[in-house]
């Protein structure tokens, strides 16, 4: 059975979309469980058996059934469209991620650029929400978000480009196939450059996703819930979904760029499993940071970005380029 490529892509997109939504739902559960263990708690336990397996479903149902409140002074159109505008890029980033050789929506030859570009669009939905709510907290939150995302987008891009330089391609499947062999993952390669790049990538990711300790835009003690303070019900669910989808997407990308993607021992069909495990490992790293650190001030955030992370990432990128040029095409 052969279908036209467009139809194939549509089917793949449908599958991936649903898989992502499902994954996001259970990633939230994972995070809650993980956090609970870090704090010597049990976490969600009662809904579903065993260990609250149905908790995400229950949450989703609850949110869908809740009343959809729109503030009277809100910029209605912007307010209503914001969750969609926020969610779409977050989900779109999965379009170019291959889960196994040939298994993905579209393995673009500019794959990583597409990922970065689309994830940069997330900010539009964010400040739409902040602005549309016509709420002081929401607006301040949006401004902080703009500030922070401008600051951390550059280091994020530069560190993500280190594997691109090492692999010599922007195509994500190519990057994975450049990491074959024992200790072939980029995190182990290039005389420590890889592991440094991974660390920088993690920091930049956390900041770009506005998570603790860089979560001043939704600092509960000052801004209640940041730009989504006015949202409720289904729209709130969409925003949450987008946020976790974005975290998951960057986790997948991190696993793909630095940890060899689907590469692993065992037969080929184990590839997606390996990939998922590695992505969850990255996700848990991020979560670990979230539950271990306290929030830092806005000026500290900016200082870390411009004075530390950005120079470091540029140096890393240049060092990688020099390493590749020095080796004369050999594996670095």
């Amino acid at each position: 059975m052969t279908l036209p490529p467009l139809a194939q892509a549509a089917i793949a997109a449908f599958i991936v979309l649903n898989a992502v939504i499902l994954m996001v739902a259970y990633v939230t559960l994972l995070e809650r469980k993980f956090a609970a263990r870090m704090q010597s708690r049990i976490g969600p336990y009662y809904v579903g058996w065993p260990h609250g397996w149905l908790q995400p479903i229950a949450d989703a149902l609850k949110l869908m059934l809740k009343e959809d409140v729109v503030p009277a002074a809100a910029d209605r159109w912007v307010y209503n469209l914001a969750p969609i505008a926020f969610l779409v890029p977050c989900v779109l980033i999965f379009a170019t991620i291959p889960f196994a050789p040939g298994l993905g929506v579209a393995d673009l030859n500019i794959g990583i650029l597409f990922f970065l570009a689309v994830s940069a669009l997330e900010i539009v939905g964010l400040f739409m929400g902040g602005w549309g709510s016509n709420n002081k907290y929401a607006l301040i939150s949006a401004m902080r978000a703009v500030n922070q995302i401008i600051s951390y987008d550059l280091p994020f891009i530069f560190t993500a480009l280190v594997p691109v330089v090492l692999a010599g391609s922007m195509q994500l499947s190519e990057i994975v196939s450049a990491q074959t062999g024992l200790f072939g993952w980029f995190v182990f390669r290039a005389w420590g450059l890889g592991v440094l790049a991974l660390l920088a990538y993690l920091v930049a990711t956390i900041a770009a996703e506005n998570r603790v300790p860089f979560d001043i835009l939704e600092a509960e003690s000052e801004l209640v819930a940041g730009f989504r303070v006015e949202y409720s019900g289904m729209k709130f669910a969409l925003i949450q979904l987008g946020e976790y989808a974005h975290i998951l997407g960057t986790s997948f990308l991190g696993a793909l760029l630095f940890l060899g993607g689907w590469l692993g021992p065992g037969p080929a069909w184990l590839g997606p499993i390996w990939f998922l495990l590695k992505a969850i490992f990255v996700f848990l790293l991020i979560t670990w940071v979230r539950w271990s650190f306290v929030r830092i001030r806005v000026d500290q955030i900016l200082a870390i970005s411009w004075k530390l992370l950005l120079p470091l990432s540029i140096v890393l990128l240049m060092a990688a380029a020099f390493a590749v040029a020095w080796s004369g095409g050999a594996r670095v």
Partner: protein, 163 residues
């Protein structure tokens, strides 16, 4: 009716509509959002023109960068909360006439030249771009870097607080 043609008409419609909205809407913030739509639509036009790299750059720099900066500026210069930001236009008729004249002149000029034969053989765009940027356009690229640094410094100088 190929896919490209359908896509073109769709994107063209979106692009024109959002562009018109940018220049006609009263709400400045909405105008910026429409601009974001127009920019993304332009990116899709690039995709139709088989320039995915440029599509990525367009989204990353324009939609991600420019729009963000503009929003930031609006937030800094307008009253934060409460009143709707409205903006008015002036001399709409004059502007329409001038714009129409420019459009007619440009299009008339372009159309008088014959369409080139469609090219079927196309080189690898990404590698070619890379070589072009460090080859014949290397000096331009360096100059661009200088320009960006200068612009950055200028912006910092202008926007810093008086102290």
């Amino acid at each position: 009716m190929t896919v490209e043609t359908v896509g073109f008409w769709l994107v063209a419609a979106v692009l024109l509509a959002s562009s018109l909205a940018v220049v006609l809407t009263k709400n400045l913030f909405h105008a910026v959002l429409y601009l974001a739509v127009a920019l993304v639509a332009t990116g899709v036009v690039f995709l139709l023109l088989e320039s995915p790299f440029l599509f990525g750059v367009q989204l990353l720099l324009y939609a991600g960068g420019v729009v963000t900066i503009v929003v930031f500026a609006i937030m800094l210069t307008e009253r934060l909360v409460g009143e709707r930001i409205t903006q008015t236009s002036r001399h709409v008729v004059n502007g329409a006439i001038v714009s129409a004249a420019v459009f007619v002149a440009v299009v008339g000029f372009l159309l008088q030249a014959g369409a080139p034969a469609p090219v079927t053989e196309r080189p690898d765009q990404l590698a070619g771009l890379g070589r072009a940027l460090v080859g014949p356009y290397a000096v331009t690229l360096e100059l661009l870097g200088v320009l960006l640094v200068a612009a950055l410094l200028g912006a910092i100088y202008f926007a810093r607080a008086d102290d």
